[in-house]
Assembly symmetry: C2
Homo-oligomer: 423 residues x 2
């Protein structure tokens, strides 16, 4: 299938007509509103809705808003209606209502270069899982040795902790290096100051569209249908703050300073052709976690790093979402099993996605093995952890036949810590 928008047909673009990811954009002095990406254009859904070309059965307009939540809350039926209408309007040879309306096209199609992207949805809650087996093993080896690397619950439970929703930011937002307490190796007492071991975690973020009621668990199939889509997610982590604070209640300030996500939410519908099965189970799972079909996705991922002033970025890792042990539907089911209410706009991180090989790891902690094996970057610099001015970028795409379903990028540059106050 081709689009009449030629830039969507290159095979290289992240945004062919098969994708149609949702985001929120504005131009200078305009209010943010909902959009889809198509080729090198942003399509203004508020304009389409106002023109009567897009209707999802709601009593009020849902796209003329600064967040996708109202649309997402309508559920699977409305998501399917929108996808059918948008595909018809944008595919070559189908509905000419947009293609032939030069006036509407001039208003509704905005070059991506002119659009400022915003956080695509209000983040109701943010939870971070730990469902990558290679990552859990690597971290376990570093902290506890290879015999006890995987915690005893890990093969039974998609382990997770609650993250901080208030600091989820859109790609492109600069991130300040956090201040905090840490206890360097060999020191008797903790110290206070800027983190010295600042890291990334490459993850996929699941976006919950449909809620469940408090006290009412859901099946894996029900959970699968609650998922609106996915974003790239960078769970920035201060390893030295984490090591000192995390016992016994888990990571807190080590992760609370920022989490970056890509501006485009790629829908579960667009990713349906790329479903794949989770790996063979080592222990049989409890019935509530058993999948009824392929519920994981084959998505290529990579990380690049570019120091300030460096001529080009270095690709430091290539991996794939299909490496995860638990699927997003399993994670969401577990999240609700005790009766936890999941809401429209909840963001669930997959956990760090590390492949089996050393150049497939999803964090610097693993890639440099705790700082012992620095990375060599193009241009000659080396890195154990992130330095000020470094720009870290995640990319991801599912490779189709002649097109790819891409996520764009999730990028952020590290700024120095805030000045310390006169405490």
């Amino acid at each position: 299938m081709k689009s009449w928008i030629e830039s969507a047909n290159t095979g290289e673009t992240d945004f062919p007509v098969q994708n149609l990811p949702y985001g929120v954009f504005s131009r200078a002095d305009e209010a943010p509103r909902c959009a889809v990406a198509i080729g090198d254009q942003v399509l203004d859904l508020a304009a389409l809705e106002a023109a009567g070309l897009l209707s999802v059965g709601a009593s009020e307009p849902v796209f003329d808003r600064p967040a996708l939540n109202a649309f997402m809350a309508l559920g699977l039926g409305a998501w399917d209606m929108a996808r059918i209408q948008l595909t018809n309007l944008l595919a070559d040879g189908d509905d000419p209502a947009l293609k032939d309306d030069a006036d509407l096209g001039a208003r509704a199609l905005v070059p991506m270069a002119d659009a400022t992207m915003h956080l695509p949805f209000e983040v109701s809650g943010y939870t971070d899982f730990y469902s990558g087996r290679q990552h859990a093993y690597n971290v376990g080896v570093m902290f506890r040795g290879p015999e006890n690397a995987l915690p005893p619950n890990w093969l039974h439970i998609p382990i997770a902790y609650n993250g901080r929703a208030s600091t989820v930011v859109v790609s492109g937002t600069d991130i300040r290096r956090p201040l905090g307490q840490m206890k360097p190796h060999g020191e008797d007492a903790p110290i206070f100051g800027p983190s010295r071991r600042l890291d990334i975690e490459l993850e996929m973020g699941m976006v919950v569209g449909s809620p469940n009621a408090m006290g009412e668990p859901v099946t894996v199939d029900e959970a699968d249908a609650m998922i609106f889509g996915f974003v790239l997610l960078n769970d920035w982590s201060a390893r030295d703050i984490q090591a000192w604070e995390y016992q016994p209640l888990g990571p807190f300030q080590a992760k609370a300073f920022a989490t970056s996500i890509s501006p485009w939410v790629v829908t579960a519908a667009a990713l349906a052709p790329f479903r794949t099965s989770t790996p063979e189970r080592e222990h049989e799972l409890f019935p509530y976690l058993r999948e009824t079909g392929p519920m994981l996705y084959d998505i290529e991922l990579e990380i690049t790093m570019q120091p300030e002033g460096a001529a080009k970025a270095t690709t430091i890792s290539r991996t794939n979402y299909k490496n995860m042990y638990y699927s997003p539907a399993q994670q969401l089911t577990h999240h609700a099993i005790g009766g936890c209410a999941m809401n429209t706009g909840d963001l669930l991180g997959s956990g760090t996605i590390s492949g089996p090989e050393k150049d497939q790891y999803g964090s610097l902690l693993e890639l440099t093995w705790g700082g012992k094996e620095p990375l060599a970057l193009e241009g000659g610099e080396t890195r154990k952890f992130i330095e000020n001015g470094d720009r870290l970028t995640l990319k991801g795409w599912a490779q189709g036949d002649g097109h790819r379903i891409g996520f764009g990028e999730c990028t952020g540059t590290i700024l120095p810590s805030p000045e310390q106050k006169d405490w």
Copy 2:
């Protein structure tokens, strides 16, 4: 100071004119709106604002809403303005504008018995601290022995984890016993089913009124001024789910099913006469955590338990908020130190408040020492943990000279687990 509303002057009421806690109420078929409690009455602030008797300098009405957030976001100046105006209207012999307006009084004063109380604010984020030394010690002894009871970071950091905001409910909401995975002592493999070791945690909840920007830490004094008020908080906990899941990332489904809070937010202003200092420091704190004055509060607390059908409730614990090692201002400062954005409506649990004596512990885990020493209830029943139909109630008040600044109650009854689906 007395009120012309006689029920506010009894000395026994939680709600004298010195208190004026904020909540959200409705009567049958009415929209929820903001109120203060006075004696046995609920005073409708939307009615006062519409009548021109209450103005907090906002461009739009802030009290005709189903949550306190809009009012709280106005900050300390507006909170002080409201307190002065309401005190003048309700104290005997001051402003007669409400006292002498029988028509307005009939509309604005609602008997508490006729009011349904709602969650008083939208919970932006929920964080749970672990700042009670006796509690941390007790739990540590049970899990690690007395030598290693207190984690090494505990005397340096107000340890906390992110909780789940979506299941914070108002007092009176029934709570379903959670399903989950657990691994009973002596078993080789985990089991799945309803929690068998369901517990409470007696805490105070701090309610953040004024935000800080992401990347901008605050001083302890700044944090102190950001706090709008306090509620009673019951951090329901499934101990068996917790024990199996919590390593290495902390409590998750063991806590996510419900957190109950009292309907009335008692302001920091009303509690000002009851400020008290935190205990002597065993290690000097980093400068960012040092208090400039008394920032903890002297608040009496108790827990009652009443099985279904029991004639009366049994008081199972009496303790005091002043037992905490870290003050709310210290907790909030630590929460923001890495750059975490704190928002209007954030709820921060103090941690379980256990006094030094055995009948002063704030959880059944401690009161029954892990189930080994069952509690004897009035009427002859005994309890290790909570059984279905049990009603647990928290109460709290600061004792003044002839009056008390009370919190009302925070209560909840445990219902059986949801029926297991045909997984």
